[in-house]
C-alpha cells in the first residue's frame, strides 16, 4: 500500500494545503516539505490552530516557514481548529486526505491513526464538500484567520476539478462550519432506517457527555467502544475512556480491523461505525467522541463519511476489557503566561499583520525575534480588529538569506507572537517554479553542487531572469503634470485611519518589484565570501558521507567525487560563454563576473581555467558595462590578471588596460578583497601594493608618444618617453623630428586601430599593424616609409 507521504511527493502539485491542530514544523520540513521538493510542488500552506502555531514557534531550528511555505494561524473562538485535511491540487485533478492525524510525526505514522484518501475522479461529492469547507473558512465562518483569499482560491480549484462530474453520494466530507457533525450523521442514519448498532473509537472522551449525545441522537442504548490493545495517545484534554452514562451502556470491545499484530503504536484514531436498518455509515476524521467535536459550536472538525446503502454486518470485534481510565496529562512546563498568536506578511519593507489571540488594541511595541535575541522595531497602533503595520527596513533581505524571524507585539495588556509570511514568495515561485527551493538555498548559503548545477542551467535557459535592465519602470518619470490639481474620491477619505493591508491590486508592479529585489539578493549572494564545498553538504559517491562514517570518524568528506561539481562546472562554461557574447555583454557582464567568482570560491576550478575566465572578463569590459561602484573591482581583476608578469611589458599592459577602463590610477591600490575568489583559485600571493605602485609609475607606449609630442611642441627633448628610442627602425626619424622642424613631416600621428598608411592608403604589413598596437609606433614599410605614432591609449 502506498503511503500518504508518497502521495505528497508523487506529483508537482500546484497547491498543497494542510490543516491541523498540533503542528510540528520539524516534521513538516523534514518529511512533508522534503516530499514536496522531490515532487516539484509549487506552493504549500499550513492552516493551523493557534495552539499548534504556538508550539511551532518554539522550534527555532525549522527556518523555512513564511518563505518556502506559509503558516496561517486560525482562531476558533468557541473551541479549537481541529480539522486535519490535506488537499493536493494538480492540473485538472486533486487528492484530499482527511484523517485523525495532526501535522506531526505522531500524526503521520508515529501513532495509530486513520485516514481517508479521496480523489476527484472517484469521489466528486467529497471534493465538493471539501471545497465548501474551504469556502466556509474563506467566509470566516466560526474562525478568525488571514487566509481568506487562499481558502477561496483553493475552494475554486477543488470545485473545478469535479466540474460536471456527478457523484454517487457514497463518500462525503462532513464539516461543522454550518451544522454540527452529530446533526448531519443523525440525519443520514435516519435516512438509512435508523441506527441499530454503534461502534466508536476515540482517544479522548469528555466523561459521559458524548455517549449521552450519541445515544440520544441515534436512539441506541449502548455504544461499543474500541479498547485499543496498546492504549491511546494521552492528551491535555478529557480522559481516555468514557464514564458511565445514564443514557447508554458502554461495551468495551476490540475491533479486529484495528488489532494489527505487532503494532504497538498508541491509538489516536477516531472512528464511528453506525449500522442502520438499511445500510451502514463509517465516519472517520478529526472528531473525537466529545461534545466539542460532535455537537454544536465547539471545535472546527472534518470527517469523511462512507455511506453504504446495503445491509452489512459491519466491523467485527471481540470482547475486551475497558482501558484503565487515565486523565489528561498535566502540563509539566510551568510555563509563564500563554503567549497570543499573530499573523504577519512582509511586503517589501512593511509588515502588515493582525493579532488573532488575544484581541489587543491601542499602542504596542513590535519586536523581531531571532534565536539570538530580540530587536525592537518600533511602536505600532492596533485597530479594533487588532490589525497593525510596522516598517521593517532590510528584513526582506535577511529573510532571503535564510535567517529565521518571528514577530512579537506587546503592550501592557498582553503579547502575541507569530511567523512572518514573505509576500514575494508567490512571485518567486511563479517565476522560478520548482527551482525556488534551490534559489532559496543559494541565497542562504546552504546550496549543494546539485543546486548550483540546476541554477546554472536555469540561468542558461533564461538569462533574462537576471537582467535588471528589464525591470525599469514602464511609466516614465514626470508624465503626470505637477501643475494639475489632483482629485480623490470622497469615499476614500479617512481610510488612512485604518491600518493599510497588503495591496491586492498593485499586482504587476508589486510582483515585478518583488522579483527585482529577489534578483538583487541573488546576485549579492554570489558575491558573498563562501568557502569551497569540500563535501560539507555534498553527496559524494551518491551516498551519505556522514552516515558512512560510523566507524570512528576518520574519513573526511570528499569533494572531488561529487559528480555535481563536475556538472556544475560543465554548465558554467556554457553560461559564461552565453552571458559574454557581443550582444549580451552589456547586460550580463557583472552577472558573468560574479558567477565566475562564485564558481572559484565554491567549486575550486583549476587555475588555468580561472585565468582564462579572468582574461575574458577583463577583455570584454568596456564602457558599456561600467558600474561606477564597481570600477575598483575591475581594476583589482586587472591587477590580478597581470600579477604573474613581473616584466615592464606586463606592468605597461596592465596600466594600458586600466587607462582604457578609465580607472583612476593615481589613487590607492584597489581593494583586492573584491576579487578574493579569483585570487584564491589562482593561488596568487603577489604583493599587490608594490605591483600597483609600479603600474602608477610606469608609462604605456601611447603615453610616451604623448610625452614625445609635447616635447616636439616644446622644441626640446624630455625624459618622458624612455622606451621610444628602443624602436630602432623609427627612433632615428623621431629623434630627427625633435631637432629639425622640417623632418617632422617624416612621421604622422594616427588614431588607434590604424591599418593603412594615411599618406598612400596602402595596407600596412601585418607586423607593423602589430607594432602600432603594442609599441605605438610603426613604419609604412611597403609604401612611403612614413613613421606612424599613436597617442591614444
Amino acid at each position: 500500500m502506498r503511503s500518504p507521504l508518497e502521495l505528497v511527493g508523487a506529483h508537482p502539485w500546484q497547491r498543497a494545503v494542510f490543516t491541523t491542530y498540533s503542528l510540528s514544523l520539524s516534521f513538516f520540513e523534514s518529511a512533508i516539505l522534503d516530499q514536496l521538493v522531490r515532487g516539484g510542488a509549487r506552493s504549500a500552506l499550513i492552516l493551523a490552530d493557534v495552539d499548534g502555531v504556538r508550539g511551532a514557534l518554539s522550534e527555532q531550528g525549522a527556518r523555512r516557514a513564511g518563505k518556502e511555505y506559509n503558516i496561517e494561524p486560525i482562531k476558533v473562538p468557541t473551541g479549537v481548529f481541529h480539522a486535519k485535511v490535506t488537499a493536493l491540487a494538480g492540473e485538472g485533478e486533486c487528492h484530499v486526505m482527511v484523517g485523525s492525524g495532526n501535522l506531526t510525526f505522531g500524526g503521520w505514522g508515529g501513532n495509530f491513526e486513520l485516514f481517508e484518501h479521496v480523489h476527484s475522479a472517484s469521489a466528486a461529492d467529497a471534493i465538493r464538500d471539501t471545497s465548501d469547507f474551504f469556502d466556509g473558512l474563506a467566509e470566516g465562518l466560526r474562525a478568525r484567520h488571514g487566509a481568506q483569499s487562499e481558502c477561496r482560491d483553493l475552494a475554486a480549484v477543488l470545485r473545478q476539478t469535479v466540474e460536471g462530474v456527478r457523484g454517487d453520494g457514497r463518500i462525503r466530507l462532513f464539516h461543522n462550519l454550518r451544522r454540527s457533525i452529530l446533526d448531519q450523521i443523525s440525519e443520514l442514519a435516519a435516512d438509512l432506517g435508523g441506527a441499530t448498532r454503534l461502534v466508536a473509537a476515540s482517544p479522548f472522551w469528555d466523561g459521559a457527555t458524548a455517549i449521552n449525545s450519541l445515544c440520544d441522537s441515534l436512539k441506541v442504548d449502548r455504544v461499543h467502544v474500541h479498547a485499543h490493545p496498546s492504549g491511546v495517545v494521552r492528551g491535555s484534554f478529557g480522559s481516555n475512556w468514557p464514564k458511565v452514562s445514564p443514557k447508554g451502556k458502554v461495551v468495551p470491545v476490540c475491533l479486529d480491523h484495528f488489532d494489527l499484530s505487532g503494532d504497538r503504536r498508541l491509538s489516536h484514531a477516531k472512528a464511528i461505525e453506525i449500522i442502520c436498518r438499511k445500510g451502514r455509515l463509517i465516519i472517520t476524521g478529526s472528531a473525537n467522541a466529545t461534545r466539542a467535536a460532535l455537537g454544536d459550536g465547539g471545535n472546527v472538525e472534518t470527517s469523511i463519511v462512507r455511506i453504504e446503502e446495503d445491509r452489512s454486518d459491519g466491523w467485527t470485534f471481540k470482547p475486551a476489557y475497558p482501558l484503565e481510565q487515565l486523565d489528561a496529562l498535566d502540563d509539566d512546563t510551568e510555563e509563564e503566561e500563554t503567549i497570543g498568536i499573530l499573523r504577519a506578511t512582509l511586503e517589501e519593507d512593511t509588515l502588515y499583520g493582525q493579532i488573532l489571540q488575544p484581541r489587543l488594541q491601542g499602542s504596542a511595541a513590535a519586536f523581531l525575534i531571532t534565536s539570538e535575541g530580540s530587536r525592537r522595531l518600533g511602536k505600532v497602533q492596533l485597530d479594533d480588529a487588532s490589525r497593525f503595520t510596522v516598517v521593517a527596513t532590510g528584513l526582506e533581505v535577511q529573510i532571503l538569506q535564510g535567517n529565521r524571524f518571528t514577530l512579537r507585539i506587546e503592550n501592557e495588556h498582553g503579547r502575541a507572537e507569530g511567523f512572518i509570511s514573505f509576500a514575494a514568495f508567490t512571485e518567486i515561485s511563479k517565476r522560478s517554479g520548482a527551482l525556488a527551493s534551490r534559489l532559496f538555498a543559494l541565497l542562504a548559503g546552504t546550496e549543494t553542487p546539485a543546486d548550483v548545477a540546476a541554477v546554472m542551467s536555469w540561468i542558461y535557459d533564461n538569462p533574462n531572469v537576471l537582467n535588471r535592465n528589464l525591470f525599469g519602470s514602464h511609466a516614465s518619470a514626470g508624465t503626470k503634470s505637477q501643475a494639475e490639481d489632483e482629485t480623490i474620491p470622497v469615499n476614500l477619505l479617512g481610510s488612512s485611519l485604518a491600518p493599510p493591508q497588503p495591496s491586492q491590486s498593485a499586482g504587476n508592479k508589486n510582483s515585478q518589484e518583488s522579483w527585482k529585489r529577489f534578483v538583487d539578493a541573488f546576485l549579492a549572494s554570489l558575491r558573498e565570501r563562501r568557502g569551497p564545498f569540500q563535501g560539507q553538504i555534498a553527496n559524494p559517491l551518491g551516498d551519505d558521507e556522514d552516515d558512512e562514517d560510523e566507524g570512528g570518524g576518520t574519513k573526511e568528506p570528499a569533494r572531488e567525487t561529487d559528480p555535481w561539481i563536475k556538472r556544475s562546472m560543465a554548465i558554467f562554461y556554457k553560461v559564461f560563454g552565453a552571458l559574454l557574447t557581443n550582444e549580451n555583454t552589456q547586460r550580463f557582464f557583472w552577472v558573468a563576473f560574479d558567477l565566475a567568482q562564485y564558481v572559484c570560491r565554491r567549486l575550486e576550478p583549476e587555475p588555468a581555467e580561472v585565468s582564462s575566465w579572468l582574461s575574458t572578463l577583463v577583455r570584454m569590459y568596456d564602457e558599456g558595462v561600467v558600474d561606477v561602484e564597481r570600477r575598483d573591482t575591475i581594476a583589482a581583476a586587472t591587477l590580478l590578471l597581470h600579477a604573474d608578469d613581473a616584466s615592464d611589458d606586463g606592468a605597461r599592459a596592465a596600466r594600458l588596460r586600466l587607462l582604457r577602463m578609465k580607472v583612476a590610477i593615481e589613487g590607492a591600490c584597489p581593494d583586492m578583497g573584491a576579487v578574493d575568489g579569483f585570487r584564491a583559485a589562482l593561488g596568487a600571493g603577489a604583493d599587490f601594493e608594490k605591483q600597483w605602485e609600479r603600474i602608477r609609475v610606469i608609462r604605456t607606449m601611447p603615453e610616451q608618444v604623448q610625452e614625445f609630442l609635447k616635447a616636439i611642441e616644446n622644441n626640446g627633448p624630455s625624459s618622458g618617453y624612455p622606451d621610444l628610442p628602443l624602436n630602432r627602425d623609427e627612433w632615428p626619424t623621431l629623434e630627427r623630428a625633435l631637432e629639425e622642424v622640417e623632418s617632422r613631416e617624416d612621421f604622422k600621428v594616427v588614431p588607434r586601430g590604424t591599418r593603412a598608411c594615411p599618406r598612400c592608403s596602402y595596407d600596412l604589413p601585418r607586423e607593423q599593424i602589430g607594432n602600432l598596437r603594442s609599441k605605438a609606433v610603426a613604419t609604412a614599410k611597403n609604401c612611403c616609409g612614413l613613421v606612424l605614432v599613436c597617442a591614444e591609449v
Binding site: 518554539s58 506531526t104 505514522g109 510551568e334 542562504a444 543546486d451 551518491g542 574519513k555
Partner: protein, 503 residues
Amino acid sequence: MANNVIEELRVQAREAKEPSISPVPSIRLGGVDPLGLRQINFDLMDQVLPGLNNVARHIRPFMVVTWAWRRAIAIAQGSGRASVAVDAQLRDFVDRIEVIYVWSQLLRDPNADLPGREVIGPILKARQYSFGGEAWKKRREIRENSTSLMAAINYGPGLRSMGWLTRHPENPKVMEPAAWANLALDALDRALGDDLDHDAFSSFGKVMVKEDEVLRWGKAWALEKYTKSEQRIFTEALFGSRSEQLRRLGVELAIAASPTSSNVAAVRRRMAGLPSRLRVPDTKLATVANWRRVQCRQLFRLCLETVFFWVTLQLRDGPMSSQRLVSRFMNQTTGARKFATTAKWVGHHYDESPGPVGLLQQVESALQGDVGQYAPAVMQGLAFCLMGGFQDGAVIERHDRLPLKRARSEFEQRLDTKPFEFMRHVLESWVFAQHTYWSIGRGLADARARGKTILRLKVVLEDGGWTLTPGVASGSFPQPTADRLRTALSLAHECGFIDQVEI
C-alpha cells in the same frame, strides 16, 4: 516512476472500502553529525595540517600510485601508437597496480593499514585474478570512489596537494607524476627488478596474476620498507621545500612536540599551548594558536554533542519539556542552586589548567562512565570554550554552523541572566535548533538533488514536549573528529623524524 505512483494512488483511493490505517513510517534513519558542527573542524585543521587526511598515513602508497602513473605513461610512450585510451588503458593500468599492491600487502599482513580489505577478499580467496573483462570492469567502478588509493577519501587528496600527481592540462583524468619524484620512483623500479617485465607491469589490457607472484612482489615493495631516497623526497613534499607553508609549520610543530614520546594524545596536548610548556620560535606561534583553535572547537563540539546524546538517553523515559531537561541536567552539575547569575555559575566551572585537550579527554572519559558524569565534564568544557582566551583565526566560520565566536557572544549577552535561562538557551538554541536546522537542511539538500531520503532528526518537538523521533533509540555516541595528527606523526616517523608513534 512518479506517474506510476500517482496512478497507483488513484486506484488505491478508488478501491478503498474502509478508512486506512496510517502506515508505520519507513524513512531510513541516519546521520552521525547531529549538530552539523563538523565542517568548521575540518576548516580549522586546514590551517595546521592542510593536504593530509586521517587515512593516508604511509609513504609507500603515495609512491606506488605515482610510480604506476609514471609506468603507464612510459608504456604508452613506448608503444609507438599515436594515442592511448585514458580510461581503458592508462587508468586501467593504474587501477591494476593499486589492486596488486594492496593484494600483495594483505598477503603479507592481513591487518595491513590499507583500504580495500573487504573488496579484495574474493581475490585473496581465489589466489589468482584476471585483470580484464566484465568482472574487473565492475570492480574498478566499485573501487573508484571508495577503496581506490586514488579516491578522495584515501590517498587522492594527499597525492595532489603534495604535488606527487598533477592533472594533465588537456585531460584532467590523466595524472602526471612529479619529475622531482623520479629518484624515489627509480628505487621502486629497482626493487621490482626483473619482475618489471611481467605483463602486469609492462602492458595494457587483460593480464592474469597469480598469488605466488604477488607474494614475491609484496616483499619487494612492502608497506614498511621505504628507501632512503623515498624518505628524503617524501620529506621535501611533506614539510620541506616543496610543502606549503602551513603544513610545513604544522608538521614541524608536531615533530618538535614529540622529542621523547610520540604518543599521539601527548603530542596533541603539547602542541596546543598552555598548559603545555613547549617552547616554540615566534614563527610557530601562529601554528600553536591555530592548533589550539582546532582543539577548542573539538571540545565545544564534543560538549554539545554530549548534551545531545544525554538528552536522547533522558527521552527514553518519554517526552519532556525543555524545562524538565534543563532541570535534570543542572541537577547533575554542581552549584546549580548556589549561583544567581550565568556569569557566576559558568565561572564556577571554569578551570583552564587542563587546557583544551585535557578537557576534551575529561569529556571522553565521562562518556565511558555513568550518564550522571556527563554534565559536570560538559560544563567544564563549555566554561573553558566560553570564558577562555580566544582569538579569531583566518577561517571563515559560517554563522549557521554555530562558531565559537557566536556562542561566546550569546553567552556574554546572558551573563546576568539566571543559570537556568542560559542552559535553556544552550539546549533550545545550540542543541535542538542546531540539530533541527542541520538535519532538515541536509535532508532538503538531498531532496533537491533527488538523493536518498534519510531522516536525520533524532529529537523532535511533539505534543508532549521533546521526544525521540519514531524509530530512534538514542543519538550516536559522541566522539571528537579525528584531527590528522596521527597521520602527520606516522608520516614523520616513516620519514625518520620520530622514533615511534603510539596511539
